[in-house]
Symmetry: C2
Subunit: 330 residues, 2 copies
Amino acid sequence: MITLADVARRAGVSVSTASKALNDRRDVAESTRAKVRAAADDLSFVPNRVATSLLSGRTGTVGLITHDLEGRFSIPLLMGAEDAFGLNKVSVLLCDARGDRLREQYHLGVLMERRIDGLIVVGARTDTRSSLGQDLPVPVVYAYAPSDDPEDCSIVSDNVRAGALGVEHLLSAGRTRIAIIAGDRTYGAATERAQGAVARLAEAGLEPLGGQPVFGAWTEDWGRAGTHAVLARHSEVDGVLCGSDQIARGALDALRDAGREVPADVSVVGHDDWEILVTGSRPPLTSISMNLEDIGRLAARRLEEAMEGRPSHGVEAVVPRLVVRGSSVS
Amino acid sequence: MITLADVARRAGVSVSTASKALNDRRDVAESTRAKVRAAADDLSFVPNRVATSLLSGRTGTVGLITHDLEGRFSIPLLMGAEDAFGLNKVSVLLCDARGDRLREQYHLGVLMERRIDGLIVVGARTDTRSSLGQDLPVPVVYAYAPSDDPEDCSIVSDNVRAGALGVEHLLSAGRTRIAIIAGDRTYGAATERAQGAVARLAEAGLEPLGGQPVFGAWTEDWGRAGTHAVLARHSEVDGVLCGSDQIARGALDALRDAGREVPADVSVVGHDDWEILVTGSRPPLTSISMNLEDIGRLAARRLEEAMEGRPSHGVEAVVPRLVVRGSSVS
DNA sequence: CTGAAAGCGCTTACAG
DNA sequence: CTGAAAGCGCTTACAG
């Protein structure tokens, strides 16, 4: 490996002068700078950032510990973070903790040895998770799943708003007999989305068909079963708000089986805007995106601020976005 | 930040002795070692790996440049790599190149400055990609998309074998009138899978319905359209091998629309074994997995070997695996 | 068994 | 404008 000393030797200057020349510091003669640059080019010199890191105490790396096995959240978040940090400024050390607290601790230890400048922790579900504590030597931002310590900084999706957004869209499409087929009731994302939807219905003087949301599982199976049940008891249904895109896919199937036209007879709206599920359905599925990249970007920004000495505290929610496709309006 | 010097001072020994004590080297008195350990514990000493890296010339980091936007491949690959390397040995710097060669070059430059010990490059599709060249100072392994330089080491999925595997399964389910609804013909994955399927049919003295595979797109829409066309021209069809799970989802829909029972009348097999698509369908979809984690694991192993001075060359294919669900046999 | 010294590759005051 | 010296935090021969 070529070192700065090699470059200096070839340019006929001292190491310190070579350093200054390459780092665009003034008080170097232009002719000297040119000589050094030429030497560096000739030798294909690539500065060793490990040395700079040791010297400056900053590595320009950020740890990203994820619990999201399928990569549904991590990659968009990573993309958002890369955008926010800038490619040359910060590199991301990605660690997969697989929902395991021990594995998380282990990764945390390794990251501390590597002297990361900051840490983003991505949860597998939106529910609150236990804090890593306040005595870590670097700032931490929790993304997607907020920390249970209000002292921490957490960036989440506004699921209540997302539910309301779905209802608003159905109302604006002229729907008033709306069923809410929610997800797994043990998940905050399921109850919050349902809660936001119910509240927004109430504002309009309505309530969901059957008086309340029906909870089930995050599956197409449940989407089908739930929709069948709704059809049996409330055949007047003209709108279905589903807790996820998978549930919505099941709902579309069940409505088709029952001979209902979507969106002519019934409008269907999902949650998550998961590309693979929403584009292929008949018709394509209107859905509510959590804007995961925005969550990543905001998490990165808050982390950057904290690294610069201006930490944030508490939970900040990213506003979801409605993506209209053929399943809700014609 | 606590340094080894702090620990040494507190333990009343020299820095070198403290180093030896903590690194389990012999020629340290047990009593001294205990003293040093106690001091390190008291101070919550976390060794600075940046210093070690500078000294040893090895950082214990590996770059992973991915072009896979949705994270369909990267995360399983990362998991496989983490498994293979061992969590404490190697950390992964993940870079998202987004299919952009410039972005890739940029990330490559940053990774070189960070003195990674090795590099894995993950393609977005299985087609051959251009090599990063032979004059990189660290070993490179190409995963999923092979390099066009046979001198490089590439780990791919055996798509030909995958196609054959699908046909074998359909044959063993007693199917002989098999349609092949392939993916986008501009993708190697589409043509190779189809080719493997056709060859395996030929071995059994058969050919696909219509004489050859039909190509289209990687979408559910195409799966529906292709299947409708097959039903119109070859109503005797009793097996459908699809180029992807999305296509297979479309096929299931089309068969249901046409009143065909799956798997009683027709068996359907997909490719990729994409969890989100295969479990929710009616019935759940039999599919052929590329074993992405195995690709990641093998890529990591080959990279490790290369880092230890035993490089591999050429393309190595990971054998796919049939995952049987309700769409092919009852 | 212990510790002083050198050095990994760089940057940064500080003399000249 | 240039360069010798010190130092970032650690490990490793080498004396003692």
